[in-house]
């Protein structure tokens, strides 16, 4: 009932069909993740550089330039992927087909880690931006972030399929307002009104002077942090089937558009931040001049305030839209992760439950798994985007490198059999692009690992192989079970030759009588009722009732010198089994069914224990014969009438 209210009514499988999206809708649907990183990429570069004090801020240009260049390279490489693998399997498929299952699994574990981080980073950053507009929220960022994740989870459980307009409006608003801001800022500067960010007057306590190698390392770290701008580029390559035909071509165009927009926005925001002398520091106490106890605004908020003014509606609009697009970015992970998990579950790397769609056609279990881990991350890292970003993008780059390497192999393989000169030249060009992509991303991966390892990336470096190993052992287990369960070619069903039935009796009441009747109806080769002697007076009463009701089944009483129930029965069943492998023993256990779990606790406890013990005995079948009590019958209004109890007339005499 609670589930109905929160999640909604189940949806018929027929409604699953894929809706195809035109480019103008597909761009916001798939690009929100990649575009949203504009909101924090610049800030992360500045934060890292702040370690060396204000003196290093002029390096921001080079770092941002490198990030922009890398972005273009990656986009170009992924355009090749989109053409070669239009099925939507993404990096996992590319790596699996070209580099083998192990590489595919590596990509999968990397992506799973990164999807989780996408949610954590995007939501944390979104909340930080909201708090920049409404500083009262600063005290409750963790709570708000957790609530936001819960809301996104609920929406996804309800099954917001990538409904175009819901995505298009905030995304286009975001793109629009950023471009308005860049233009407005540029106009202001040209017309002789220099920008002045609120933090421009703050000094930064530098944690040391950097020169030579140390400076290089710091710049590389800034670059690694800036590379967060690249996340989400792979989303389009996973979503090719959702495009309107010609799918590959449209996807590639959208990818190019995405690259262009993202790089322009990133460059614009960085330029404005530099022009307005935005100063940021990892630790707010390093900012000299910041009023004590105040949390500095996000860089994008400071830029917006310097361009539009502190209380202008445009500033608030931009902050809200930024927060929205960051939440949408979190939502793309909610689309990607469950699909990946279901593909992995289909291949046997994850538990089967992750494969199935829930009531609303969404992969419910995958969604819940993702949301659980994301909430954990947000709570542990106090919803701090800066700290979370240290773990981020290792996974993305692992999957970039694997898929680009896979693409080189892909072209090599195709080139081996291709004779058409025009096609060959095209493939060679693609191979060169992918090779450049692989080289660049590999170098960046090394940089990211080297610069972020101590800062927190070690968690990811530890988590990925762990996930890898777990998935592999799950797959081994499933494979071993499948081998054991597969019938041999010449297998024929053989019926058991003898079926010895046992009905467990504690007292002679309606459930027992029903179980006896049911056991007799199954026509076993032999049948007996079995009880354990615990109390001689009770046993005498039982024998008397047995006679009085003329039960047509022999009653065997098992001695229990140590007042046990389970063991004597299990031993007895074991002794009943004969040497003939075609004989079976069926144990019928009468069970009461009650309406509420707290009533259930009071009953059936020994029956449950017995059942679990008997399941391990070979050639023994346990049959539960349910007896629905009145409280359980209420749970099924309008159900079938209860079976007629032949002994009901006499049963009223008993007890």
């Amino acid at each position: 009932m609670t589930k109905r209210v929160l999640v909604g009514r189940p949806v018929h499988s027929e409604l699953l069909g894929e809706a195809t999206l035109p480019k103008k809708i597909a761009l916001p649907v798939f690009a929100s993740d990649a575009l949203s990183s504009v909101a924090y990429a610049t800030e992360e570069i500045l934060l890292v550089l702040s370690a060396g004090g204000l003196a290093l801020f002029h390096f921001t240009w080079y770092v941002a330039g490198a990030v922009g260049l890398l972005m273009l390279v990656v986009v170009a490489s992924y355009r090749q992927n989109v053409h070669a693998y239009p099925s939507g399997g993404g990096d996992y498929e590319v790596a699996t087909t070209n580099l083998g299952a192990k590489a595919g699994l590596t990509v999968a574990s990397a992506l799973m880690v990164d999807y989780t981080l996408t949610v954590a980073v995007s939501v944390s950053s979104g909340v930080a931006n909201l708090a920049s507009a409404f500083p009262v929220l600063n005290a409750h960022v963790v709570l708000i972030a957790v609530l936001v994740i819960i809301v996104i989870t609920m929406l996804n459980l309800r099954g917001v399929r990538e409904s175009g307009t819901a995505f298009a409006v905030p995304t286009y608003c975001f793109i629009g307002s950023i471009f308005v801001m860049i233009t407005w800022g540029a106009v202001k500067i040209m017309s002789g009104h220099p920008l002045h960010a609120e933090s421009a007057g703050y000094q930064i306590k530098s944690t040391g002077t950097y020169s030579g190698l140390a400076l290089g390392f710091l710049l590389l770290r800034a670059f690694a942090s800036g590379c967060t701008a690249l996340t989400g580029v792979e989303a389009i390559s996973n979503g090719v089937p959702a495009f309107k035909p010609p799918k590959s071509k449209n996807a590639a165009t959208t990818l190019a558009l995405l690259g262009g927009i993202a790089v322009t926005m990133f460059a614009g925001v960085t330029a404005l931040a530099l022009a307005g002398h935005v100063h940021a520091a990892t630790d707010a106490s390093d900012l000299i001049g910041l009023p004590a106890g105040q949390t500095p605004r996000t860089v994008i908020a400071q830029v917006a305030r310097s361009v539009f003014g502190g209380s202008s509606p445009m500033f608030y609009l931009l902050q809200v839209v930024t927060a929205l697009i960051l939440m949408l970015a979190a939502n793309t992970a909610f689309n990607g992760f469950p699909v990946l998990a279901s593909i992995l579950a289909k291949d046997g790397y994850l538990p089967r439950q992750l494969r199935t769609r829930g009531d609303r056609l969404a992969f419910s279990n995958g969604i819940l798994l993702l949301s659980g881990f994301a909430i954990l991350l947000v709570v542990v890292f106090q919803a701090s985007p800066t700290r979370l970003i240290q773990l981020y993008i290792v996974g993305v780059f692992v999957s970039f490198v694997c898929s680009q390497t896979g693409m080189i192999r892909h072209w090599n393989r195709l080139l081996r059999s291709e004779v058409d000169q025009v096609m060959r030249r095209k493939m060679m060009r693609s191979r060169v692009i992918n090779a450049i992509g692989a080289g660049f991303t590999a170098v960046v991966l090394v940089i990211v690992l080297a610069t972020k390892f101590v800062k927190g990336a070690w968690i990811v470096v530890l988590a990925m192989p762990l996930i890898w190993l777990v998935m592999r052992s799950i797959q081994r287990h499933y494979a071993a079970v499948a081998v054991e369960l597969t019938p041999p070619e010449d297998f024929k069903i053989t019926n058991p030759s003898h079926n010895h039935a046992i009905v467990l009796v504690s007292r002679l009441h309606l459930p027992t009588l029903r179980a006896i009747g049911y056991a007799r109806a199954a026509r076993p080769s032999s049948i007996e009722a079995v009880t354990v002697e615990l109390d001689s007076i009770e046993l005498a009463a039982l024998k008397e009732q047995w006679q009085a009701h003329a039960i047509p089944v022999p009653l065997t009483v098992i001695a229990s010198p140590y007042r046990e129930i389970t063991r004597p029965i299990v031993d007895y069943v074991k002794r009943l089994r004969t040497e003939n492998p075609n004989d079976i023993v069926t144990v019928y256990i009468p069970e009461y069914v009650l309406g509420h779990w707290w009533e259930q606790v009071l009953h059936n406890q020994s029956a449950l224990r017995l059942k679990s013990r008997l399941l391990f005995q070979r050639r023994v079948v346990v049959a539960s014969v349910p007896y629905q009590l009145r409280s359980a019958a209420d749970r099924e209004p309008g159900g079938l009438p209860a079976p007629q109890e032949g002994a009901r007339k006499d049963a009223s005499i008993i007890r």
């Binding site: 022999p554 009483v557 229990s560 063991r567």
Partner: protein
């Protein structure tokens, strides 16, 4: 079962350890086996077919036949080495023939459908510690 309990536990320490690890059924089996020579009986496992024998043990189960049908009382006597089905024809119930009861009986032992059985034996109920 008898061989394992007779030969293995030679040192007292080992025996104590074995007793700790053994389940109640195992311990009861050992007690019952120990009582066989004292009563001048034969272990069930050593009984030859179609010979008159004297057995001593405990009734592991007692089966009461339904009212309709041939009256007979069936019980399973266990002496720690093996079990034998004891059948009293023409009786539905015999006072004292209850599950858990210790019994000494004389009769001719046979094998019926792979199970050892004794029909209409002469029996002596053994006293319980509380009697």
């Amino acid at each position: 079962m008898r061989a394992s309990s007779g030969n293995k536990a030679d040192s007292p320490f080992r025996r104590a350890l074995a007793r700790l690890g053994a389940d109640p059924g195992q311990l009861q089996a050992e007690e019952l086996q120990a009582a066989i020579p004292a009563a001048g009986a034969t272990p069930i496992a050593d009984c030859p077919d179609r010979e008159p024998v004297c057995l001593v043990g405990t009734l592991r189960t007692v089966t009461f036949r339904p009212r309709a049908g041939v009256p007979a009382l069936e019980a399973e006597l266990w002496d720690g080495t093996g079990a034998v089905t004891v059948v009293w024809l023409g009786r539905r119930e015999i006072p004292g023939i209850d599950p858990g009861r210790k019994l000494k009986l004389r009769g001719r032992i046979t094998t019926l459908q792979g199970r050892r059985a004794v029909y209409n034996p002469i029996y002596e109920l053994q006293a319980r510690p509380t009697d």
